[in-house]
């Protein structure tokens, strides 16, 4: 009934690649934050998959739990930065933020 761990590895690598592509290609602050979430989620999937293969402990799932909490803090901070950026530049395009002052 169970599928191989290699399937999950390939899937997580693909999802990480998609997230990294989105972060590099898109120039919208919010879409870039969503891409970061995609990357975090792919690593979480890998952790849960390996934990399933070593089912004697729950270490991978505990690690995923912590990563989810950190992701929540990261999303809140990133969106606050997005609001501050929008207030300064009046746009969400990250190409406009090319100075070290405002």
């Amino acid at each position: 009934m169970d599928i191989e761990i290699s399937t999950y590895i390939v899937l997580a690598s693909l999802l990480f690649g998609i997230g990294a592509t989105g972060f590099l290609v898109r120039r919208n602050f919010l879409v870039q934050l969503m891409s970061v979430e995609l990357m975090l989620n792919s690593v979480n999937l890998l952790l849960v998959g390996f934990n399933r293969a070593h089912a004697s402990s729950h270490d991978g799932q505990i690690f995923t739990f912590v990563v989810i909490a950190i992701a929540a803090a990261e999303a809140a901070l990133g969106l606050a930065l997005a609001i501050a950026y929008y207030r300064t530049k009046n746009s969400a395009e990250t190409d406009l933020g090319d100075l070290l002052r405002h």
């Binding site: 761990i5 290699s6 399937t7 999950y8 390939v10 899937l11 690598s13 693909l14 999802l15 690649g17 998609i18 997230g19 990294a20 592509t21 989105g22 590099l24 290609v25 919208n28 919010l30 879409v31 969503m34 891409s35 979430e37 995609l38 989620n41 979480n44 999937l45 849960v48 998959g49 390996f50 934990n51 399933r52 293969a53 089912a55 729950h58 799932q61 505990i62 995923t64 739990f65 912590v66 989810i68 909490a69 950190i70 992701a71 929540a72 803090a73 999303a75 809140a76 901070l77 969106l79 606050a80 930065l81 997005a82 609001i83 501050a84 929008y86 009046n90 746009s91 969400a92 395009e93």
Partner: protein, 195 residues
């Protein structure tokens, strides 16, 4: 493995990849957020195929219930400034190059790592349930669990510091003119002239 089982497992995988692509290629961020919601749902299904029931529930609660709502809130708040801009031809080449390079790295990583052979062993009793996770969390990882609370608290304070606007009273105080009339205060309080 029967056909219904393989369909059961391949459906969330295909859905996860398709919705991830939709997230990064949607022109409007709100549509991207909706695709992200679909992606999170498919990941919860994948967690269920890995017998991680508690984490699947946590994922739906935290991501769909908190993080995605925050995204949608900010998109709605920023509003018209997010209208999609026409892509310039000049930027097309580096974008394509970076996408191809990242996907090549990810695919080669997948091709190497896919040779890992780990048999999915038998499941212990209650694996992935609330009781087992709670036991592992409170007995083996108490300090990280408490540290999460501190991290979230610091994050909340930082968000307040970053995103808070100056109030009318503060702006009037900085404007050196004594705030006597309400009209003066609101004049000095237009958001673009702050600082």
């Amino acid at each position: 493995m029967s056909a219904s089982f393989s369909l059961l497992f391949s459906f969330p995988m295909v859905l996860a990849i398709a919705s991830a692509l939709g997230t990064i290629f949607a022109r409007r961020p709100l549509r991207g957020a909706m695709f992200l919601l679909l992606h999170l749902g498919s990941l919860a299904l994948l967690y269920l195929t890995l017998s991680a029931q508690f984490l699947a529930a946590i994922r739906v609660l935290v991501y769909a219930g908190a993080i995605l709502v925050l995204f949608v809130f900010v998109i709605m708040m920023i509003g018209p400034g997010l209208d999609p801009q026409q892509p310039t031809l000049k930027a097309a080449f580096p974008k394509t190059l970076s996408a191809v390079m990242v996907l090549a790295i990810a695919l080669s990583m997948a091709a190497i790592l896919a040779r890992v052979e780990l048999p999915m062993g038998a499941l212990p009793e209650g694996y992935g349930g609330v009781k087992a996770i709670g036991r592992a969390l409170y007995q083996g990882a108490t300090v990280p669990f408490e540290l999460i609370a501190m991290v979230l608290m610091v994050a909340v304070l930082g968000v307040l510091g970053i995103a808070r606007k100056k109030t009318d009273i503060e702006l009037a105080r900085e404007g050196e003119q004594p705030a006597q009339h309400a009209g003066q205060i609101s004049e000095g309080a237009s958001p673009e002239t702050g600082d």
